[in-house]
């Protein structure tokens, strides 16, 4: 649409012969807009450079394969890394079936004129914007204590993160399903397939790249979440890898937060540790996002 507008602009200027003050204003405005964008990107750049210069010396194989230690020189992130991987596995196992099923229901079955379907929709939009710390309270009151009383374990942490990013998966899944043209469904139904056969054999396979992209982006949001895990009770000093769903755990952002909040002195400087942890987390994030972008470009279908 903007391309269209630009194509028209020169002609309009040719007719109207803009005054020089109007042109100056136009250029000034344009520069102002660029400055806004530039400032946001500059901050991101400075942040990345800062983290890399602080942490790159500390990031090594030893760092990845060592456990927590009060001795800053010997501390590593292994327990947090494995904890995060466990959490992501639980989270994925929860959000993929539930998120996709909800998206299918809302796109393929739900009658939009019914109040309860509209309620589900508004509810999901609201859940997407509920502060993450509130999910932590939910996890604490329902999963860790209260009805389920799981304790501060992998399963409780993973499910809390799953509930947190579920709306993102649902919204992405709905968009992917909506992008499959109705003609595909009609063709399938006309050949005698039932509604579910149509969805399972035609719609879902066509929507898988979009859904997968949404799932990866949700996981990359979950992987960096700190606040809900603090409330759920992730431990900060863990010297073992989780052994199962009922194991206590720590996670990378929790470990990073712990290093940031420890007072550093000449003997033990925890700041490079925090920066190295951030670097590792960012590397994981960039890898996940690259896969998502690759999926989107490789399998995106234009109908």
């Amino acid at each position: 649409m903007s391309a269209h507008g630009e194509a028209v602009a020169p002609r309009a200027e040719g007719i109207g012969r803009p005054t020089s003050s109007r042109r100056a204003k136009d250029i000034g405005f344009r520069l102002g807009l660029l400055a806004c964008l530039g400032l946001a990107i500059l901050l991101l750049g400075v942040l990345l450079v800062d983290v890399v210069t602080d942490g790159v010396d500390r990031l090594s194989w030893d760092f990845i394969t060592s456990f927590a230690s009060i001795n800053a020189d010997q501390a590593g992130i292994e327990a947090a890394l494995t904890g995060t991987l466990w959490l992501m596995a639980v989270c994925a196992a929860f959000i993929i079936p539930v998120g996709v099923a909800t998206a299918i229901y809302l796109e393929e079955y739900a009658d939009n004129t019914k109040w309860y379907n509209r309620l589900i929709e508004v509810n999901i939009q609201n859940l997407a914007a509920v502060p993450s710390i509130v999910y932590g309270i939910l996890g604490l009151a329902f999963l860790v204590r209260g009805p389920l009383s799981l304790g501060p374990v992998i399963l409780a942490g993973g499910l809390t993160l799953g509930l947190l990013v579920l709306p993102v998966v649902i919204i992405a899944g709905r968009e992917a399903i909506r992008a499959v043209p109705p003609s595909i469904r009609e063709g399938s139904m006309a050949l005698g397939a039932t509604q579910w056969q149509t969805i399972w054999r035609q719609v879902l396979p066509a929507a898988v790249p979009g859904i997968a992209t949404g799932v990866i982006l949700s996981l990359s949001r979950a992987i960096g979440e700190t606040a809900p895990l603090i409330v759920v009770g992730a431990a900060t000093f863990v010297a073992f890898n989780p052994e199962g769903l009922d194991s206590n755990f720590t996670a990378m952002p929790i470990q990073i937060f712990d290093w940031i909040s420890r007072p550093s002195n000449d003997v033990n400087d925890y700041r490079p540790l925090a920066a190295a942890g951030i670097l590792l987390l960012m590397i994981l994030l960039v890898a996940m996002n690259s896969v998502a972008i690759w999926l989107r470009n490789r399998y995106e279908q234009k109908w």
């Binding site: 649409m1 903007s2 391309a3 269209h4 507008g5 602009a9 002609r11 309009a12 200027e13 109207g16 109007r22 136009d26 344009r30 807009l33 660029l34 806004c36 964008l37 946001a40 990107i41 991101l44 942040l47 983290v51 539930v98 099923a101 299918i104 229901y105 079955y109 589900i120 609201n126 859940l127 914007a129 509920v130 502060p131 710390i133 509130v134 999910y135 932590g136 309270i137 939910l138 009151a141 329902f142 509930l163 579920l166 039932t194 579910w196 990359s220 960096g224 979440e225 700190t226 603090i230 409330v231 952002p253 990073i256 937060f257 940031i260 909040s261 951030i278 960012m282 994030l285 996002n289």
Partner: protein, 314 residues
């Protein structure tokens, strides 16, 4: 078989449009899908239930007026004091600073991307903004504490800025919500039909006039939605404020000093080791309830505004 009587009467075979078999499997699957959709409703219900029980118990011990209008927040002191206003003011001041940063920068970026940028430029810049949105908040907290406060704020303003301060937290939260403002506003402006722009150009409008007087007002409900949603995110932001804001509630406007917002208090107090049933444990839920209600109102407003612009142009 069902239509056989009619077929004989009219002389041509009548085909039943009913399913030949009842297909219980299809119904079962639909039931399972409904169940999955119900999980999101259950989540909201769970949030409200988990908050309300302890909140009611909390108000059995502390009066509502003391909570809402008291100006001293010291739940763990002896004697304790439960005035939530310092947390509320901290939350609002930090969110206001954030919006002072995010509104111009986010809207500027959105206008540039929607109205000025060539498609190639858009294609490279949008992933960068997505990257900004994808940086974990704990990383922004680290950056605010170890770089932004000492290297920029203290370099500019000197000793008036303490190492833990609300200003750095607010500004960094502002940068964190720029992508929220930019992406929704850009969507709304892109949804304004080209014919409106063409009409304005046809009347001799310059690019600047068309953008500010035609496109911007036409997309206003979407833009308002993006700002309200960004505000809601800024109100609910935990980690940056927890790390860079210090953990000391302040009833005042000294942005160069430590402040605490509601989410940061919850995180600082709600670590898994507090005893269930203690008053400190209950404050977490009472403050959480207040936070949930405030963000709920903002989210519903934002959803309403988004629906408005969708209805007009889509």
């Amino acid at each position: 078989m069902q239509g056989s009587a009619g077929a004989e009467a009219s002389g041509r075979p009548e085909i039943s449009l009913r399913a030949a078999r009842p297909r219980y499997g299809e119904k079962l699957i639909k039931g399972l899908l409904v169940l999955a959709a119900f999980i999101s409703i259950a989540t909201t219900t769970g949030i409200v239930l988990s908050l309300i029980e302890e909140t009611i118990q909390f108000f059995g011990e502390v009066s509502v007026a003391d909570f809402l209008f008291g100006t001293e927040w010291a739940p763990l002191f002896n004697p304790p004091s439960f005035g939530v206003l310092p947390l509320v003011s901290g939350t609002l001041i930090i969110a206001a600073i954030a919006m002072l940063v995010a509104t111009p920068l986010g809207l500027g970026a959105a206008i540039y991307l929607s109205e000025y940028a060539r498609p190639g430029v858009r294609k490279t810049i949008k992933p960068i903004l997505e990257l900004l949105a994808g940086v974990p908040t704990v990383v922004f907290g680290y950056f605010a504490l170890t770089f932004f406060t000492p290297e920029i704020l203290q370099a500019l303003f000197g000793n008036r800025i303490q190492i833990f301060n609300a200003l750095a937290a607010g500004i960094i939260v502002g940068f964190l919500v720029i992508p929220t403002v930019a992406s929704i506003s850009e969507d709304a402006m892109s949804a304004v039909p080209a014919s409106l722009r063409e009409g304005a150009f046809g009347l001799g409008g310059a690019k600047l006039q068309v953008t500010l007087r035609v496109v911007f007002p036409a997309a206003l409900s979407g833009i308002v939605a993006s700002l309200v949603l960004a505000m809601s995110r800024a109100v609910g932001e935990t980690m940056v404020v927890l790390i860079a804001g210090g953990q000391r509630p302040q009833w005042g406007l000294k942005v160069g000093e430590s402040m605490e917002n509601m989410p940061a208090f919850i995180a600082a107090t709600g670590k898994g080791d507090i005893a269930t049933g203690s008053t400190a444990y209950k404050t977490v839920f009472a403050v959480g309830m207040l936070l949930f209600v405030i963000t709920l109102v903002m989210n519903l407003l934002s959803i309403r505004f988004v629906r408005k612009y969708r209805q007009v142009y889509e």
